[in-house]
Symmetry: C3
Subunit: 351 residues, 3 copies
């Protein structure tokens, strides 16, 4: 075993000392210590991607990714991380009419004489029988604020293998883990006690809160001084905020809510912009029309270090071209960090 390989094994061992779970659904599962250990594995992978790739450490393994929704970064980074480690990735397009897989039923006890052809009670364990890790992306249908997260929760209940949530209604935990890596890069290795701004920004659609809630969880796990700016009527899910807040005592994090995006952005290590839907979904379009001043421009960025966004981003709606094309924009390295954190998860489970 060469030096790099033994360093990886040691880093993975530290993850396992802190986290033995097989579900990564909201991203809080590994806790602060497990998360930090995962980030160390990710840094090692990132610094030695090609050399690690040549080791084929996960040769003979398979990962199945089931996508109910479109994806660029998530699909590509998950598949590349898997493939580079020597494992095989199967991309499955869920519930397409002509192609992909069968349309799926999630309700228990139903008489399946309608359009749904396959129940998750079979699909999940069968996929787990082929794949060593299952990864599922399932947004809420329509504009619903799907607090039950039926798809990912059903897979979690019935999958026999480790499971990664590739974005659901309430969480995008791989994005959150990558964001911690990006924030710690900005902070020189850590962002504990550093001011981080999460700001609502305009978007034509009432998007779910998966990303902003994952940013909150990431900030809390990393011990940030988080300032969340959102207009009235756009508050984040109270229950999820409460759950995240419960980690503050442990990590030294703090959360401040404000209606003033400039105050939140002032002096921040990072201004993280994201659009999400109005609490009253039906009023979203009308409300957004009056909130153009929430678009992140150069003035708001003046005393901040970096601009972040999970992508895809609507230019000149969420953020001006000047900011995203400017020297403070870190959106590309931020997206690039998806691959190493996902590789770290696979290594933690399969090495």
């Amino acid at each position: 075993m060469n030096t790099l390989e033994s360093r990886l094994h040691a880093a993975v061992a530290r993850v396992r000392e802190n986290w033995r779970g097989t579900r990564f659904i909201d991203g809080l599962e590994p806790g602060p210590a497990g998360t930090n250990a995962l980030l160390d594995v990710a840094r090692l992978y990132r610094a030695n991607r090609l050399e690690i790739g040549r080791l084929r450490l996960l040769g003979g393994r398979a990962v199945a990714g089931l996508f109910f929704d479109p994806s660029l970064r998530t699909h590509t980074s998950m598949e590349v991380a898997t493939g580079r480690l020597g494992a095989h990735f199967v991309y499955l397009q869920a519930g397409q009419g002509g192609g992909g897989t069968w349309s799926m039923e999630f309700e228990d006890g139903v008489v399946m004489n309608g359009t749904a052809q396959e129940h998750v009670r079979e699909a999940a364990p069968v996929l787990s029988s082929y794949a060593d890790v299952l990864a599922v992306r399932a947004f809420p249908k329509g504009d619903a604020h799907d607090r039950e997260e039926r798809v990912i929760r059903s897979f979690s209940a019935h999958a026999g293998s480790p499971l990664i949530n590739l974005e659901s209604a309430l969480a995008h935990p791989c994005q959150g883990l990558a964001d911690q890596l990006t924030l710690s890069d900005l902070g020189g290795g850590s962002f504990a006690r550093r001011k981080v701004c999460l700001t609502w920004a305009p978007h034509p659609k009432p998007l779910p809160q998966a990303v902003p809630l994952s940013v909150v969880r990431a900030a809390v796990l990393g011990g940030a001084d988080l300032h969340v700016a959102a207009p009235e009527g756009f508050d984040l899910d109270a229950e999820e905020m409460e759950r995240a807040r419960s980690f503050c005592a442990d990590t030294g994090a703090s959360i401040t809510m404000t209606r003033d995006p400039d105050a939140a952005a002032s002096g921040a290590l990072a201004v993280y912009a994201k659009g999400w839907g109005a609490e009253q979904r039906g009023e979203h379009t009308e409300r957004v029309a009056d909130l153009g001043h929430w678009t992140v421009g150069e003035a708001r960025m003046k005393s901040a270090t970096a601009f972040l966004h999970c992508l895809p981003v609507r230019r000149n709606v969420i953020v001006t071209d000047a900011v995203i094309d400017g020297p403070k924009s870190r959106v590309v390295p931020q997206a690039a960090n998806r691959e190493p954190v996902q590789a770290a998860l696979l290594l933690a489970w399969l090495l």
Copy 2:
């Protein structure tokens, strides 16, 4: 060469002593002896999946899978088997409007000035030039009972590489091979002379007979005492049944047809349920409405050992929740057996 590798080579050699064919279309091709040898390779793969995967025995090989229809198990198990053995799998979605491949012509001599863009006479040999094995899934269009199986037969005529049928109108031979593995597991290594029940069950659509005919072939190859229960007007294709029956003398199998599902299920090693279309397709919906007592419930399973179904299954239509969630249900290990039997086919051709 390590011990496992030499055992695999020996097992593959036994397949080749019994079968030199390059087509696996209805599943009868390897004959009883070739099939048994394939099952031995599958058992070896199944018991050592990860270790075999690490050997990369099929490194440098490629398999192309062309899907005209949706798939969960077939796609995933075929791709995982290929990838785990170190070969590369290309998933091709056939004939999709915006994406996938070109729409295909199968008729000879036609003037192609309509919508079809590519003739199978080019598509098949070209794919064979890239891939070491071709795998094709093509159901009959609409409700037709497509006795000609034009798609798979055309590919067979023009492909220059070994070809696997991933389900056509009349056969799902990989399912049949996996079913033999499952039945032999249930029978402690063999199901020769054991009673196996194939029972028609209600389904809203007049499905083709690919699976039930493959169950018949599997039972016959393995020497089972097969009891097929179906309502009047739902008899299986006479010609295909006759072809299967011709193996009975060789393997000691027997086939009994009945209208009584309880008699067929009584004392069976396995009750294999499947819906298929009425002989008079137009009357299917009306007929099924009166056949609810064919749904497999706990009473019918009372003296049987195991419940099988190829999946996807319509719960509480084909089978009750109580049976499929109960201790006799073997549908997940049955589906899991798809990977090792398909790996065995690839090894038989490419090792």
Copy 3:
């Protein structure tokens, strides 16, 4: 390092001595010497495909292929070449409604409050962060003769990794490179000074000129005596022809334009047929109706050595069954040559 591996390294070194570029967009980039060196790598790969595959020379590498349009040969040959070399290929379906990736914006400075969700300014560098090589297929939308080639040019401007054009409005450079390999096979190692015929042929749709222009470039790079036959009103793009012609002095190639397909085909090493749109797109259908005699039949092939077409081909519209099924047809080996030339590109960049 074994002999084959060192021969490959030497062949790749000769490519790099002649070409240090990271874009393969119209196929002229490597110039005549770089192209010849690439063809030598391709020949080495083709003659030792399985053995090279087992070496896993590009282990730990990843290639992302983004497809805005359907594909059979291009997708399969690119993915197989990548996989056989030990790298991982990610297939991405662009801009599909329900599945695939996000819909993309290519215009600078736009306010993205419409349907486009992701700007190429993010998509390209992000994909480059995951993949070592990017490959993009994007035909022009509708019947437009898209001289700007916005999609591939935008990716070229913003991608941080080497980029392969898998067919745009004006070029199909991998097809062109494969065609040089095929023509040189026909000519016994070279087709310099040999007569090559490119002939327009009827097609119901006003197709773009990507393939015929790439044939012209291939012929010019290889020093052919090219005869291009097309009916009045179907001339190829003048500017692109002029650019290709500028290489003639260097390679000894010549280009002759004619309205007489029989004269062009007479005595040719290869008759390469292809349909493309009328200069006046709106008149295409009407014009084609009178041009049935441009279909390549046996009489036209009488004194020619081989028939070529990039595929997919419309039988009995572009070419008769008798020719394409006859002994002079080389369309299958021509398509097979796609894999080795694409492997050569990957090796040149990543070995």
